[in-house]
Symmetry: C2
Subunit: 267 residues, 2 copies
């Protein structure tokens, strides 16, 4: 199973994207979408959450602007079921939905919205007590999320569990916790996928891109199936292609050698 | 236990080093030695094996030239016990010896030479049938090497087992084999260390440094204690420092942040 890349760049917390969305600058957001697809993104995350009152309008504009110019599916990134419901009305291809959690109100609304819809769903191991703090805790939450989604019709292979681990700057063990959580989820809940926002691990530290790029091989080795990341980072592409090679998932080294030949990898 | 770096640059298979050794260019080899030490090398490997008839004279010159200008111990790298015995006559600090194998003739001579000597020893999982091809095979060989060395007085903590895995270009599974071998050795033979020549994995492929740098986190995660590598490669330094951070071995992120502040890391 090749690693799944969810392109993270179309997010209004990035100032350039916020400005482009405000200005309804089709050229900029389409360029960012196409560049991510060309660099290997399997999904394009769309997050308009920075504009609190304008989220629905902004997200629908993003969907309408980007959908016609790419062939990959979109990942609709909002905690608000109203925003998601509006987006579903416009989508031409089954999306990924980012995300459901175990927070009681959000969980029930989101589950009811998703029931019967053909989509992939990201499920965060967050509940009303906050972030999880142990592998056992993460696995319990993951199991509750998967059980609930399977009960409303989801195939386990369409459920992407995010263990939601905090940065290594706040707790020395958070790197190992993330790895062990992914391995635990894969072992305990057959068939589900695992995913994370790759850059959360490096929050609060300098040289974040360096941390992210070496975190990826470690997480892939523990069974991570996909990540929200920057597909345009050449060193991150090198990390992914090289790790697939080293984990034995690149017969005859062809994927790696193609990437070297294309000249996109950071060397 | 911090990861051990054995600086690999003073090897006469590198043309610049071969020329410097032939010309008895003290300035060049001393600069290479000091630069590796300054970049964090814990041992400096000295290999004069490219000059078949001159190996002893070349190696002794290297020892005499470098020993006075560095404080770290040397790693004497030769399959020839005569060369090693001559080197022992000059060494002022207990060295690392690289290497003993299970090849019958070499094994007996090397074991007899090492008996009672205060040193660290690299033990390669090579026997008269060649390179190993499975984790079980590697663990059997590692056990034979460790047992033999302990019998002549070595503390397990001074024995560095190299599983001696081939490049991923010759066999797709070689990356995983290396990782599983290191984990197997650490599990089955309490107290011994594991080591490898990091760049063997990338032989025969383009962009070798990229492969080496992402192999390091994977191997460290499986328990690799040290490696022969290029201490001057800034991306490899980044790999090592970041992996120590992510594996939970860098309290308060101080080692990582110091490396960022020093500006030596590839970013």
């Amino acid at each position: 199973m090749p690693f799944t890349v969810i392109g993270e760049l179309l997010n209004t917390t990035r100032p350039a994207v916020r400005d482009a969305v405000r200005a309804r600058d089709e050229g900029y957001v389409r360029q960012q979408a196409i560049a991510q697809q060309d660099a290997g993104a399997d999904y394009l995350d769309l997050n308009a959450g920075a504009g609190v009152r304008t989220e629905t309008a902004d997200l629908l504009w993003l969907v309408d602007t980007i959908q016609p110019v790419v062939s990959v599916p979109l990942c609709i990134d909002s905690p608000d079921t109203k925003v998601l419901e509006a987006a579903f009305g416009r989508l031409e291809r089954p999306p990924m939905v980012n995300s459901i959690t175990l927070e009681k109100k959000r969980y029930e609304r989101m589950r009811d919205l998703l029931r019967g819809k053909p989509c992939q769903v990201v499920a965060l191991c967050m509940d009303d007590t906050g972030m999880p703090s142990s592998v056992d805790d993460i696995c319990r939450r993951a199991d509750a999320l998967a059980t609930g989604l399977v009960a409303v019709g989801f195939d386990p292979a369409t459920i992407w569990i995010d263990p939601l681990v905090g940065p290594v700057s706040t707790r020395t063990e958070n790197g190992m916790l993330a790895m062990e959580a992914v391995a635990g989820i894969k072992k305990n809940i057959p068939g589900v996928k695992t995913v994370c926002g790759l850059s959360n691990i490096s929050f609060g530290l300098p040289a974040r891109r360096v941390i992210n790029r070496f975190f990826l091989p470690l997480m892939m080795n523990h069974g991570l199936d996909g990540a929200l990341l920057d597909p345009l980072d050449p060193h991150l592409l090198a990390a992914r292609k090289t790790t697939e090679l080293l984990l034995g998932n690149d017969a005859y080294c062809l994927g790696f050698m193609d990437s070297v030949a294309e000249g996109r990898m950071g060397v």
